[in-house]
């Protein structure tokens, strides 16, 4: 059964029926937003059942659309969180990616600005590496990007999509070794993106991220994970009561290779490790449970089949 990332939007009336339906079909609800009278569900559902959900949702004014980035956590890296990059450029991109289902975190570097003086510290490096992908939003000058990008990418082992002011071809030429994706023509700007060509640029960023993610998924499929992250999320939600007291919008954030659980590490890591997945198999057997560099959270990295010889 292959799961497809989708977004369901519909009225709040009888929406629990849709949630039950998705769960009964073997799908997973990743995130649920209630916005006034509307509900937005980000879910992974079996490919063959999309039509069924659409048919049942129709009388409830529901619509289901593919959202290629549901179940991914993306870092949007900006040289700083100063007015030079915020709110436009960084926020506009982060917000637009979110519409396609991704969970985005903005990473503002402490000393990422400038050309010669740009730096990336170990905490920033580790935080970026905890994501599925990093989108770097750099400035408008080729000379600067060429000089500072090698410093900003040092130690980053997740796929990178580089955005900058110069045209895509120019970016491709100056970056060595190459990164996974490039989007030119979106560098530093100080106004809100609302013209159609600016929106088209944001679409291009999403297309590039989706392309990189799809390739990454294919690579993952060669040595599949021992358990799907969405299923692991359900198991933790069922067995660890305290997760329901967490006020964060996503108490458990689903990533492509694991989860971020927003509970204190020292207290809950042993509990999560010992949680049973199946008879005789615990989460500790299938995944590495480690402290996250983000606050006091727990990072769960699922091991591949080649390491555990198990697929559940």
């Amino acid at each position: 059964m292959t799961h497809v990332p989708v977004t369901y939007k519909g009225g709040i009336y009888r929406h629990d029926e849709i949630i039950d339906l998705i769960e009964d079909l073997g799908g997973y609800i990743i995130q649920k937003h209630v916005i006034a009278q509307e509900i937005v569900l980000q879910a992974l559902v079996p490919r063959e059942d999309i039509e069924l959900i659409r048919r049942i949702g129709k009388p409830l004014t529901g619509d289901i659309t593919p959202s290629p980035l549901v179940g991914t956590e993306i870092a949007v890296v900006s040289p700083s969180l100063e007015i030079h990059h915020l709110p436009h450029a960084s926020c506009d991109v982060a917000e637009y990616i979110r519409r396609f289902g991704a969970k985005t975190n903005m990473v503002g570097l402490a000393r990422g600005f400038g050309k010669r003086i740009a730096q990336l510290n170990d905490e920033e490096r580790d935080v970026i590496n905890e994501h599925d992908l990093a989108v770097y939003l750099l400035g408008d000058f080729e000379a600067c990007i060429e000089r500072k990008f090698p410093v900003l990418r040092r130690g980053i082992d997740v796929p990178i999509v580089l955005c900058g002011g110069p045209p895509t071809e120019a970016l491709r030429e100056i970056i060595d070794p190459p990164v996974d994706g490039y989007v030119g023509g979106i560098g530093r700007f100080m106004h809100r993106t609302k013209e159609s060509e600016e929106i088209e640029k944001l679409e291009e960023v999403v297309r590039e991220i989706t392309r990189v993610m799809d390739r990454h998924r294919e690579e993952l499929a060669r040595d599949p994970l021992s358990i799907s992250p969405a299923r692991l999320m359900d198991i933790i939600a069922e067995n660890v009561e305290e997760i329901h007291d967490v006020l964060s919008p996503t108490p458990i954030t689903v990533q492509m290779r694991g989860l971020r659980v927003k509970l204190p590490y020292d207290t809950f890591a042993p509990v999560i490790r010992k949680t049973a997945v199946d008879e005789g198999v615990t989460i500790g057997d299938l995944a590495a449970v480690s402290p996250s560099r983000m606050r006091d959270y727990i990072l769960v990295r699922i091991k591949p089949f080649s390491e555990t010889n198990l697929v559940l």
Binding site: P79, S80, E82, I83, H84, H85, F113, G114, K115, R116, I117, A118, G139, D140, F141, E142, A143, C144, G165, P166, P167, A170, G187, R188, F189, M190, H191
Partner: protein
């Protein structure tokens, strides 16, 4: 509103130049500064790296005195100031407190200030200078130019006077002959530094 007479961005990278032209335009518009700028020339060389902004301001309104925004009347040794435009009130109060002390400056309501000057003390409140717009415009201009400049250029030199202003910024130590460069950029606008 008179348009800006001269507005150029000079940069060895043509793509970057276009972006920075747009950035400068948006920032100055947002900060409501296009009305005070007469000419502006921005030079950016990311290879050095250096940022030079030189410009000429329009004629600015003069110093604001008490009589420009308030009525002053004197009766039985007490001076009553009726405030017309509250925008300058805080500046005025600060000056009055410093000169007379808080105990002799009374404010029975929001728009009235009553002074009780001492015996024989000369009080010429109506002509008292309260606010100099050129000071705040200088601060606003320099702030806007810092927003326009590429981020991370922490070494700066700035100047404002005789309707001219400039801001030079870099992340490295500024070269010694920076004044020559500034003069050269002023001459491009047909203005003497």
């Amino acid at each position: 509103m008179e348009p800006v007479e001269y507005f150029e961005v000079e940069c060895p990278e043509p793509v970057g130049r276009e972006y920075y032209r747009k950035i400068a335009d948006v920032v100055l518009l947002d900060h409501n500064l296009l009305r005070v700028i007469h000419k502006l020339h921005i030079f950016i060389d990311p290879n050095v790296p250096i940022f030079v902004a030189t410009g000429v301001t329009k004629k600015l309104p003069g110093v604001v005195r008490v009589r420009d925004f308030a009525d002053v009347s004197e009766r039985e040794g007490r001076v009553t100031i009726s405030i017309g435009d509250e925008a300058y009130l805080s500046f005025l109060l600060r000056i009055l407190w410093d000169r007379f002390g808080k105990e002799r400056v009374n404010q029975p309501d929001r728009f009235t200030v009553v002074l009780a000057p001492g015996e024989g003390e000369e009080v010429d409140i109506a002509d008292l200078p309260v606010f100099d717009p050129s000071e705040s415009i200088f601060k606003d201009l320099i702030y806007a130019l810092q927003v326009i400049q590429p981020e991370g250029f922490k070494v700066r030199r700035q100047f404002y006077g005789k309707n001219r202003f400039y801001l030079v910024a870099s992340e490295d130590t500024l070269p010694e002959n920076i004044e020559d460069l500034v003069r050269q950029k002023f001459s491009l606008m047909g203005v003497e530094a």
